[in-house]
Amino acid sequence: MTSIDVQDLTKEFGGRRAVDRLTFRVLPGRVTGFLGPNGAGKSTTMRLVLGLDRPTAGSATIGGRPYPALREPLRHVGALLDAQAAHGSRTARDHLRVLAASNRIPDSRVDEVLAETGLASVARRRVRTYSLGMRQRLGIAAALLGDPEVVMLDEPSNGLDPEGIVWIRRLLRRLAAEGRTVLVSSHLMNETASFADHLVVLGRGRLLADTPMRDFIHARVQPRVRIRTTDPGALTSALARHGHAAEEHADGHWTVRDARVDDIGRIASASGVPVLELAAEEGTLEQAYFDLTGAETEFTAQPQEA
């Protein structure tokens, strides 16, 4: 059981609070999505967890220990912070061998992670010849090098092609299924929704939410029923008789709030309304996120993170 524990964590850069009394826990066995606009403090929090930046106050521990106290830390925690970190003049294999050597990880493991990330055939090419997607894969390979129980990835889908995005999704699911602690930051809502079980949402360095993803969506977005018909008059009057209000949309479909698709289907059928399309509209993570952040309008236009 290795969790990431963040306790009252605060970090100031020249008077500006990048992280503000943050407390949350990332548990093993699930993928935790780390959300927030640019500049919300996601990357800073990750650097604080890794002991790269010193907190102004509070603490961050991994399995109860501060990161610098870990013996051979790459064997416990794997992180991808910046895909550009590999030196352009080194080959991918040498880049990983350098990291492996410092933590006494054998070179055979280097070849394993290169194969796992699909870089085996280009492993002896210089990193400067790599596309952003390949650098991203190399960064993930570095994170997996020590077969760590904790994996922390900052925007891993950046620059990946569609194939790569599917690959990273499967990888994250597999890492969580193996019982590892997985924290993945992103500002892409649909992408996060495809792999996360749990969410930690930041805004201006503060914790806005720490809940299972399903609960997060259901608490904020009401389910709707989508329906299309050739006889809108009959549909609206039938729905009105049962106390439902329908809204028309520009392309001709209607939506009914606070309704279950089973009920609407029965009403339409009993009233003989011809139905062309009938579907439940689940709330999306994006809608839920904007519902949450919309309340705090102050952070809609934050300066970009360095």
């Binding site: 790459l74 550009q84 030196h87 003049s89 990291l99 050597a101 410092s102």
Partner: protein, 241 residues
Amino acid sequence: MEFAPVLRSEWLKVRTLRSLPGALLALLAVTTAFSAIAGASDAADPGFDPLFTALSGVIPGQIAAVTFGAMAVSSEFQQGALRLSLAAVPQRGRWFAAKAAVIALPALLVGLGTAFAALLVGRAGLGAAADGLGTGAQVRGVVGCGVYLMLMALFAAGIAALLRSGVATLSLLVPFILVVSFVIGDATGTVADFLPDKAGQLVLRETYDGTLGPWSGLGVTALWTAAALLAGAWSVRHRDA
């Protein structure tokens, strides 16, 4: 964490970055070439010092040693390289010590080889003018020259860690070595004797006058180097990566 794996990792970094062995090769090539030219030139100068003339290729050649030290450190300050390195080795003092060690040893070894080669080609050019050179002075010149080049590489490494930039380090040190020391260097008996490069270069001379001797001069350079390394180590340890 143990020191040996960290040292091995840092050594692998030096080996796998083509520009670093390249800088050491340049040290050998430039120094030997300039010593050959100096040896073949006129030796009628009244202040003529055969040992210094034979080893004088080191004056331009040391820029390669400084570049080696500066680049070995500054490669860590490109993009997020330092974060990656310190995530692998969170003991920053230990990490920086390993970094300094893998700069010092190759610089010393290549420096000794360079000094020996420079002395050989320089003496060949001087011919009879170098006949008076004693063995003791020549050994002192070669060993001192190797140590001097190592100290200059480490001095640059310390400055690069403090400034977090290779470009800034080289634009500070190269003009300093080429211009400042050159212009005020002839004025012996002043503070110029105690500049990091001027003081250490006394070891390259057969005869010397002034407050510092060859070894005490090298000692002054060593103090400058120690100060630069301590400042660099302080910066690495105390600043956010």
